[in-house]
Symmetry: C2
Subunit: 498 residues, 2 copies
Amino acid sequence: MSRAKAEAPERSITAGSDFLHLTIADAPRGGRADWLAGRLRQAIVDGRVPVGDRLPATRVLAADLGVSRGVVTEAYQRLTEEGHLAGRGRAGTVVVAAPGTPTPPVPAPAAAPNPAGLFTPAPDSDIFEAVRAASATIDLAPGVPDLTAFPRADWLRAERTVLRHLAAADFGYGDPCGAPVLRQAVAAWLARNRGITVDPVEVIVVAGVTQALGLLAQALGAAGINRIAVEDPGSLGVRQHLNNWRMDTPPIGVDDAGLRVDELAASGVPAVMLTPAHQFPTGVVLDGDRRRQLVAWARAGGLIIEDDYDAEHRYDRPPVPALRGLLPEQVCYAGSVSKLLAPALRVGWLLVPSRLREAVVVAKRNADLGNAVLPQLVLAELMTSGAFERHLRLLRRRHIRRRDAMIAALARHLPDATVHGAAAGLHLMITLDDAVVDTELAAATLARGVKVQPLSWHCQRPYRPGLVLGYAARTTTEIEEGVIEIAAALRDRRRLDG
Amino acid sequence: MSRAKAEAPERSITAGSDFLHLTIADAPRGGRADWLAGRLRQAIVDGRVPVGDRLPATRVLAADLGVSRGVVTEAYQRLTEEGHLAGRGRAGTVVVAAPGTPTPPVPAPAAAPNPAGLFTPAPDSDIFEAVRAASATIDLAPGVPDLTAFPRADWLRAERTVLRHLAAADFGYGDPCGAPVLRQAVAAWLARNRGITVDPVEVIVVAGVTQALGLLAQALGAAGINRIAVEDPGSLGVRQHLNNWRMDTPPIGVDDAGLRVDELAASGVPAVMLTPAHQFPTGVVLDGDRRRQLVAWARAGGLIIEDDYDAEHRYDRPPVPALRGLLPEQVCYAGSVSKLLAPALRVGWLLVPSRLREAVVVAKRNADLGNAVLPQLVLAELMTSGAFERHLRLLRRRHIRRRDAMIAALARHLPDATVHGAAAGLHLMITLDDAVVDTELAAATLARGVKVQPLSWHCQRPYRPGLVLGYAARTTTEIEEGVIEIAAALRDRRRLDG
């Protein structure tokens, strides 16, 4: 504490180095190089400065410590002679393995999970991470687009444009609902492609549909709603996620026309979460009659949560407009770029009825103060420049080929399987004869190096056994090879059972 | 649904356009150009395709609809003649304002908040957004580094490197705890600069310290802890945030030696959140005695949450190692790049005792499935290439000049103010004579175009009136001009009171 009227302090010194917290006051006069060499040696030996790390430049460290550069040079020289350090020209002075230096600890590889153990009938909420961590030759798990197609050059170009024009203040804390320019781009996208008219200020940018559901669960919980009906079959991940946010998820059946709205109405549950454009996992589209029934249910007070996750991936059927376009005050709408660009971007959007808006914004603020700004601006640039739409056209052409390859491979190698939901999306569902235990089949398939998901994971009530097979991220060759292994695993299981 | 043994379907068609959900089946035979022109006109008039938007290329739209390109060309031509569209060469066909087109709605500007109304004694949790939205000539609110210094070129270069080398699978869903390469870089950073030895797998990448506190609050709440003591004076934002996550935040005094550990021990509260390296807002460093007392309190079972928010910004005092380095099983440690690079990046890190780890990871998964991957990899590249450290050295030099300018300006224009916490950080605290009502002073200062924070916002119990003044993000000229306005506002208030 100092009185302001005191004169400004003398020229500031930093009085020590952040690097290893070295303070010259600790050094004996006349023995500074010795002292410094000792401190560095200790830090190298105990791993604080591991092999491969670069030391500060002598000039910089000398200035930090307030000593002559010769002191630092001498200390570095001594450790170089001992074999702890090596000069690397412009790359500076680097720590190298020395005789007597214990080998740096090698990070333990993630334990290879037991494939059979993964596919239990009631998996935990870390199941998808565990499946991703399992090693496999061919990954036919559903849920990702062709990631090799990620438009790296377009992304980098858009980022350059954004960085060139960004105001410094935009690097500060922003609006928790997202960057205005992305909200504008999303609103324009939804108007053009999903039949939704929305004021950009109503768009809430979120970290994917997962976060959107968490925010909604918090807002609905605060409003006294603790049950959200879900489709059955329906996404295991969504159900686990809602359960984690303390929502019950009673199952509502799905048939060839989509969600059984009669079951929903009979259940008395106040809210329902569904995937009307391409039901997960069955691939059914909510048909016209059911849409009308659902709209009537919502007009009578029901709340719809519309996960529009696959709407843009349709191949041989007409587009289906979003329910949100019909009923803005009864539909919460969530979408993301996870299936359009990459899940790793963690960007999505959420529209909610006005009565829920304040609570959702509070929840988003409490979650993270808003999404990171740069990726939002880059995405907006891609959406407005047309690069995003070009990318989707490329994806669609590629996905159709892969979808066709999977259907052909199934016809050839698994002729008894029934194929569902091929007209859109990134995956197929197949159902198999009732004797098959699909978790066992998935485990046996993984043992053959191919990852698939058992259909029963996505079913709360008894359903036909089957598999959910992603094709979008795999080459046609991989797809055929994967299907061959599924067929082989199925034959093996039948032989065991027979 | 189709039997797999059926042959693969004929060549897929997309059967309609996502753009406006146009389906040619809706068009009368022989009147397709008419029909298309009508649909486009309607979409332009009702704002679904606003002025400035580009229409799909004729070739693309024709292919989507399964019509000859001439049909689309004719429809575009007609709307061009009507004045709705204009050809822009390589930029395509663009919507322009036409006679009879209603002017597109101009987004309403954020309501300019009433400056006097902002500075209430007990502000809501959206207060910081409201203050940011208030217009001002000079912003001396604390909490951001010099954002004009953001290393745009380094960032773009690192992003190029990352995009060049990234495996396609890395665009998929990742580990909710973060990208391994960033966790490695953060662990190395903490070892070199903060005296913390940690296995990279223990590092949890989060969306800033705000998210870290939310995750901790959830984990502690599940463990039956619903009170976290906080410093008083202490950050209003932190307190509001913990309250929002259903934590009580009893106040513990701060004096010239830092947190009053005796008060903490007497309170019986099981956990405490503090800023030991540079207390917010007073700028005090927790001294040696208090550190020893706090360590004893933690060894007896207390849990420490260490917000290391300003540790790297120190000017004329030696570095202070983190408490976490001493007591890994009693300290939760949170840091971020918000004060080192930019808050807009929303990247931070969290270390927790092993007994809390599982619950925190579950909370992170439920929050957002993990941070976005690309910015993590870019940051790791900056940290390992040395660009990050270079940036901090540049920031430090600049911040020292600005700090000195603010101290000099205060001595000149507000000689009666007492200045606190100048040896480190991005802000100063000043205290004023007890007759001043600092919320009123902040309002009067904003009315003169200068944003500051009243100290009383950051106090739960009566304390001296004062202001919290950020200097890091402003030029020395702005700083002096800002202080002159504060002094003028203070004189005005005294005149009113006198």
